[in-house]
Amino acid sequence: MTAQADDELWSAIADPSRRRVLDLLINNGAVSASWLGRQVPFTRQAVSKHLVVLEDAGLVSRRKQGREVLYQVEADRLDQATRALADLAAQWDRRLGAIKRLAEAAHAANKKRKEEMS
């Protein structure tokens, strides 16, 4: 992923209202802008603006169904984001694992020293 694409994704999700819209889409599948508008405390115009930004970032796509336009989450893009988050979590898990090994080894050494002294 390029820095440019990262940047768009960042901006798209840095806004709490947009995250709320994204959240609703994750949990409810393909829905219309007017349905979304009824679920959130901000205006229909704000919802439309958020959807445009999310679409530009590749997180959301639209399709026509009859007279309605339905919005849905782009699973691949979201997967990409989830994987990156998992990498970050895994990095901390590795660090915590290393702390655990070091602390337990130090504790064992301390205990041994005490036993030898007594």
Binding site: A81, T82, A106
Partner: protein
């Protein structure tokens, strides 16, 4: 809570004082964290961490032995790290009896939307996947799908 990123913990079979030293002493930190750690463990102290051929400044925020230690990093060059331009890493140590400790780490992010575009690009270049900080919804999904 916007911006919450990563929340992990581990159970360690050692007293809280031993875990505290492992987490906070620079010569110990260089064994589990960065390749080189220059740090005075005191609130407000400025330090430096080197990872391979990359590195960056860190600023200690909280030192409350043997329970809490936190620092900020990933802030723009030449700026003081504050909420909004940096990542906060917080360690919390909880003793569970005399020889067992729960160690929790929370890394939380900043709101990049207030940054100038050039700064965002620089950050994206340097940190690659750093944008994920804002996916707190995804953090929730991940927490449900991963044990621990």
């Amino acid at each position: 809570m916007p911006g919450l990123v990563i929340d992990r913990d581990v159970l360690i079979e050692a007293p809280v004082e031993v875990v505290w030293r492992t987490v906070t002493e620079p010569d110990q930190m260089s064994q589990w964290f960065a390749d080189r750690v220059e740090l005075v463990v005191a609130p407000g102290a400025h330090g430096y961490m080197q990872f391979g051929d990359q590195g960056g400044p860190v600023v200690v925020e909280t030192v409350d032995p043997p329970a809490r230690f936190s620092f900020r990093w990933n802030h723009p060059d030449g700026e003081e790290p504050v909420a909004g331009n940096s990542m906060l890493v917080e360690f919390t140590l909880t003793p569970l009896g005399d020889e067992r400790t729960r160690l929790r780490v929370v890394e939380s992010g900043h709101e990049l939307r207030d940054w100038p575009d050039a700064e965002k690009e620089r950050y994206a270049d340097e940190h690659g996947n750093g944008w994920v900080e804002f996916l707190d919804r995804l953090a929730g999904v991940l927490a449900e799908s991963q044990p621990g």
